[in-house]
Point group: C2
């Protein structure tokens, strides 16, 4: 299958690398000059489960991709705030057959994609893989993980295309499952990000350290309840107990992990995706007349930390 | 006037020192061995507005004060969680004339005092002075400040005694005012502590740094509203706008200050008084069936930080 991976930070590198290793045709595009330079010179370099690996793939700057290039799938793995510009910049490379697959953290990205593309071409999901950029030219890929996706528009050929995408990703070792309801899954993953990413960033700790604090469970439950309340207004009947369990299962599976938001703000002094996670619940809660105080305060707190650090 | 200052950390040292300098009879008592040792050996040592000063006063351990000693006033300036034991240990030194004056941070201390002493002997207030312990044998006293107090039980001789206390403290340069309603004042000061102390501790910044962050005002307003809601259930009609202004006026007056909770947790790795500030609003809000999510989450977050640091 012919993939364009749009956004090859830590997670984009994992997907591009695994897809390429499995024999797919992979091209990458990125908006960060320093990263792009190393991709062009040295390819995708990573420590993958303890082994140093390199895969060479065509790499382009976000605005330098030749208009005549076509792909079966454009896989979006940018930071949330970079998505819209990336979609706009890649529009010339879409035709009526190109599938747009978004596996990013954050809620509401399908709405961004649907502003520019027919719903029938949009595929949505999320991933529980971890990834960490150690340097602009190197990524650390450890821990077990998985991903899941589905078509956004019902019917054919979308349902068959989603199955095909799942097969290709699964064959590449990315442990991919087909979803019944992709938006349910995005909200469920949002619960992980809106608790562990946010709180581990505020407290500068990893998941296991956070799990041992005396109020961790109470905070997780309150945040998940707010995600569920906003989800309900958007037709998603989130199972709160199951979502809390899903969050807390991360302590066991990836306890030593420092979440991506921690990597952004604490390690790299970059502004975070919080507006697309807790901030989504806060702003949409307000729209629906719901109280979402935990998500409001957590969003304000992450921005306070960004402000104090003069994050870029 | 004959004072026993109970608790001579940073703030207790300011009051003991100023009262002694103004010619009052001052004795001090403290529960911390290392501090006590230096008080006995070197007296009250401080940098007071740029000048190194020393005052020698009788100093006793919390349980070693001779039972026959009597005082006009016992001024409580312990940490909130130490108050009850201090009151119990000093009970033998109270007679029917001893005034118990509490100027500590935290809400509800008059209830603790009234468990052991007649309401008529309890005087309550708060202080906006700052103080910082630089070493166990030295305190830094800078910035302008004030204090205010009143009798808790109405009528005479309490009202006259409160006036007398105000005069003595004011003469000692402590800029003291008589209050109409001491519990109103405690809630109003609680708003300062429940916003600036808590948030500057979580973010490890001073007041001025916090004031420049983009969500500071929103967070202050939400917390003050919760203090007002719980206050209303306790007969206190807090003026939210005035209280917010009182909080934000601190940016100008003591902007470079790191609040006492910051000093406890960030500087000295000690557990904080948060349960008597935001935690008071959280627990009493629950009792009254009110929602106080900002105070709930802030209390949980401060405890999370204590847990992660293994604070003592």
């Amino acid at each position: 299958m012919k993939f364009l991976v749009a956004g090859v930070g830590a997670m984009g590198t994992r997907f591009a690398l695994k897809l390429k290793q499995a024999g797919n045709d992979v091209t990458v595009v990125d908006g960060w000059d320093l990263r792009l330079k190393s991709l062009k010179k040295d390819g995708l370099r990573a420590n993958l489960d303890g082994q140093e690996v390199i895969e060479h793939v065509p790499a382009y700057g976000q605005t330098e991709l030749p208009n005549n290039l076509r792909f079966d799938v454009v896989l979006f793995l940018t930071k949330s705030m970079q998505l819209e510009q990336m979609v706009k910049d890649l529009l010339p490379n879409f035709d009526g057959h190109t599938m747009a697959l978004c596996l990013m953290n954050g809620i509401g990205h399908e709405q961004t994609l649907e502003k520019y593309l027919p719903k029938e071409q949009v595929f949505l999901g999320n991933t529980m893989w971890t990834a960490q950029m150690t340097r602009p030219d190197h990524v650390l890929l450890e821990d077990d993980g998985s991903c899941e996706l589905s078509n956004v528009a019902p019917g054919e050929p979308q349902a068959s295309q989603a199955k095909q995408l799942v097969e290709v990703l699964d064959k590449a070792g990315l442990k991919c499952h087909l979803l019944a309801d992709p938006r349910y899954s995005v909200f469920r993953k949002g619960c992980v990000n809106g608790t562990l990413n946010t709180l581990c960033t505020l407290f500068e700790c990893n998941l296991e350290e956070f799990s041992k604090t005396s109020h961790a469970h109470e905070m997780v439950v309150e945040v998940v309840k707010e995600f569920a309340a906003v989800g309900a207004k958007e037709g998603i009947d989130l199972d709160v107990d199951e979502a809390v369990h899903h969050v807390e299962d991360c302590y066991r599976v990836i306890g030593a992990h420092y979440p991506s938001m921690y990597q952004d703000l604490v390690k790299n002094n970059r502004r975070t995706e919080v507006d697309y996670i807790n901030g989504y619940v806060a702003s949409h809660g307000k729209k629906y007349g719901l109280k979402t105080p935990y998500c409001n305060l957590l969003t304000q707190e992450v921005h306070t930390k960004e402000d104090l650090q003069h994050a870029k």
